[in-house]
Amino acid sequence: MSAGLRAALGAELIKVRRAVMLWATLVAFVVASCVGAFFMFVLQDPVRARSLGLLGTKAQLSGGTADWPGYFSLVAQMVAVGGMLLFGMILIWLFGREFADRTAKDLLALPTSRAAVVVAKLVLALLWSLLLTVELVVISLAFGAVLGLDGWSIQVLAHGVGVILATAFLTVLLASTYGLAASWGRGYLAAVATLFVTAITAQIVSAVGYGAWFPWAVPSLMSGVAGPDQASPGAGAVASVVVVGLVACTATVLWWERADHDR
C-alpha cells in the first residue's frame, strides 16, 4: 500500500469513527437480520404463520422455505436489496459530506494525491460494506442455530455464504456509481436521486424479465430473488456489473483530478 493511500485511509478512519452513519448502518443490518430470522420463524410453523395474518401471508409469498438453503437465500436477497440502499448511502455519505461540509477543497492541494483520497474512500466503502455483510451473516447464523433450521451442511454453508459475499461485492461495485454521482453533483441530492432511479428501474426491469440486462438488477438475480427454479444471471451479466463498477471508480478518480473545483 502506498504511503499516500495509507495516509488517506488513516484520515478517513478518523472521520468514520465519529460518524453516526457507521452506527446507523450497523444497527440497520442488525434489524435486517432480526427480520430475516422472524420470517424463518413464521415459515417454520404454517399454523402460527396463518395466525399472524398479513405478515404470515407475506412470508409465504416470499417463496422461502424454513431451512438453511432458504435462509441463506433470504439473507442474500436482503444484501442485494437492502445493501444497494445502505451501501449506496455509505458511498453517498463518504463523498457527499465533503461538499456538504465544504471540506472538499481541503483535499485538493496536499502531498496526498486526490487519487489516493478517492481510492481510500472506495476501499473504506468496500470494507465497511463487507463488515456489514459479515455482521448480517454472523447474526443470521446464530438465529438459524437458535431456530434449529433443517438442511445444515458444510456445503450448504459454503454455498450460501459464498452467494451472500458475491452478492455483497457486486452490490458495492454498483454502489460506487453513487460516489461518482455525489462527486459530480457536489453533494447528496444528485446521488440520492440516482440511487432511487436505479433501484426503481432495477425492480421494473426485473419484473418484466430483463434483469440480466440491467447491471443494477444483477445482484438481486444472483441472490435468488426470482425464485429457486430460476437460473442465476450469466457471466455476461456479472461482467457488466464489474465493468460498471470499475468505470464508476475510475471516473470518480478522474473527476476529482480533472474537474474545476470552483465551489
Binding site: 484520515a11 478518523i14 465519529r18 471540506t103 485538493l108 492541494a109 496536499l110 502531498p111 496526498t112 473545483h261
Partner: protein, 309 residues
C-alpha cells in the same frame, strides 16, 4: 535576484463569455506578503484556486514553490485557506488537525500540539468543530494551513470573522512568518487597512484584470497624508521639487505626490514651484488612504463598455 515562489504568467480563466481571470501576470518573491485586493467577483478566489490547482486555467502558466501547478508535486511546501474556513463538524478541533496531519503526511504527532498552542485553540481542542465561533473556526482553518510550516502560504480572507485581537494576532503572525521564517504569503482581503499594515506588495484585481500593483513604498505613500500637486509640466515640477530636497513621487495622470516636510509646509512647495517658473495649477493636502486609492482605481477601470464582467 530573488527567485519568485509564486509566478503567474498571462493566466486567464473563462467560463463561456465570462472572463473570471483575464491575462493576469504577477510574481511573489521569497519572504514577500502579496495582497490581492478586489471587489466581490473581481477574480481573487478564482486566481487563488488556479494557483492551488483547483481550477484549470484557460490560458497562461502558473507556478508555486518553483513548480508548475499542473502536475504539482510540491504541495507539501504549500499551506492554504480558501474562502470560508471549513472543518468536519462531528470531529473535535484536535481530530480535525489530526486529519490534516495525516493527509499532509507529517510523522510527528507533536505538530498538532504546537498548532493548538500557536493558534490559541487549547481551550477548544476537545470541542466539536460545529460548536466553534466563526473566529475560532478561522483559527482552526489557519492552524490546518500552517500545520506543516509551509514555505508558501496562500490565504483567502485570512482575518475574516476574527475579533480585533485575533486580527492583530494573525497580522503579527504573518509578518513574523514572512520576515523571520522567509515564508512567502499570497493573501486576498477586503480589509484594506489590514492589507496596508501587512502587505509588502498589493495587486488590485478588477473584473478579472490586475489593474495595478504597488510595492510597500508606494503603498505607504497611498496610505499617508500627502501633498498632491498638478502643474503644466509634471516632470519638470517634480525635478524642481526634488532639487529643493522634497521626497517626490510622480504618479499616473501627471500628479506629483510629496511626503514628509511637504505635508507640514505646503506653502513652501508652492513658493519653490513659483520661483522655479512652474507654478502649480492645483495643490492639495490629501488624506487618501488605500481604500480611497482602491475605490478611485476601480472607478477608473469600470467603463460601461459591456465587456467582460
Amino acid at each position: 535576484m530573488t527567485r519568485p515562489l509564486i509566478s503567474v504568467q498571462g493566466a486567464s480563466k473563462r467560463y463561456g463569455a465570462l472572463a473570471a481571470v483575464d491575462d493576469v501576470t504577477l510574481q511573489v518573491n521569497v519572504g514577500e506578503v502579496y495582497a490581492l485586493l478586489g471587489l466581490n467577483g473581481a477574480g481573487k478566489t478564482t486566481l487563488i484556486r488556479m494557483l492551488l490547482g483547483m481550477v484549470r486555467p484557460t490560458a497562461g502558466r502558473l507556478e508555486v514553490a518553483g513548480h508548475p501547478v499542473a502536475g504539482q508535486s510540491e504541495w507539501g511546501q504549500v499551506g492554504y485557506l480558501v474562502e470560508t474556513p471549513s472543518a468536519y463538524p462531528d470531529l473535535t478541533v484536535r481530530e480535525n488537525l489530526e486529519v490534516a496531519r495525516r493527509l499532509r503526511r507529517l510523522p510527528e504527532r507533536s505538530v498538532v500540539d504546537e498548532a493548538v498552542a500557536r493558534f490559541g485553540l487549547g481551550q477548544y481542542e476537545g470541542s466539536k468543530a460545529r460548536t466553534l465561533s466563526l473566529g475560532n473556526a478561522q483559527r482552526l482553518g489557519l492552524a490546518k494551513a500552517m500545520l506543516h510550516r509551509p514555505r508558501v502560504l496562500v490565504l483567502d480572507e485570512p482575518v475574516n470573522g476574527l475579533d480585533p485581537a485575533g486580527v492583530v494576532e494573525i497580522r503579527e503572525l504573518l509578518i513574523g512568518l514572512a520576515r523571520e521564517d522567509g515564508v512567502t504569503v499570497l493573501l486576498s482581503s477586503h480589509l484594506l487597512s489590514e492589507v496596508a499594515r501587512v502587505a509588502t506588495r498589493v495587486g488590485i484585481l478588477h473584473r478579472g484584470r490586475l489593474i495595478e500593483e504597488m510595492d510597500s513604498t508606494t503603498l505607504e505613500a497611498s496610505t499617508r497624508t500627502r501633498v498632491e500637486v498638478e502643474s503644466r509640466h509634471a516632470t519638470r515640477a517634480a525635478d524642481i521639487l526634488r532639487g529643493a530636497g522634497f521626497v517626490v513621487h510622480l504618479v499616473a495622470g501627471g500628479t506629483v505626490v510629496l511626503e514628509g516636510r511637504a505635508v507640514q509646509h505646503p506653502d513652501e512647495v508652492a513658493t519653490v514651484l513659483v520661483n522655479g517658473g512652474e507654478p502649480p495649477t492645483r495643490l492639495a493636502v490629501v488624506d487618501e488612504d488605500l481604500e480611497a486609492h482602491f475605490m478611485r482605481l476601480v472607478a477608473e477601470h469600470s467603463p460601461t463598455d459591456g465587456g467582460d464582467r
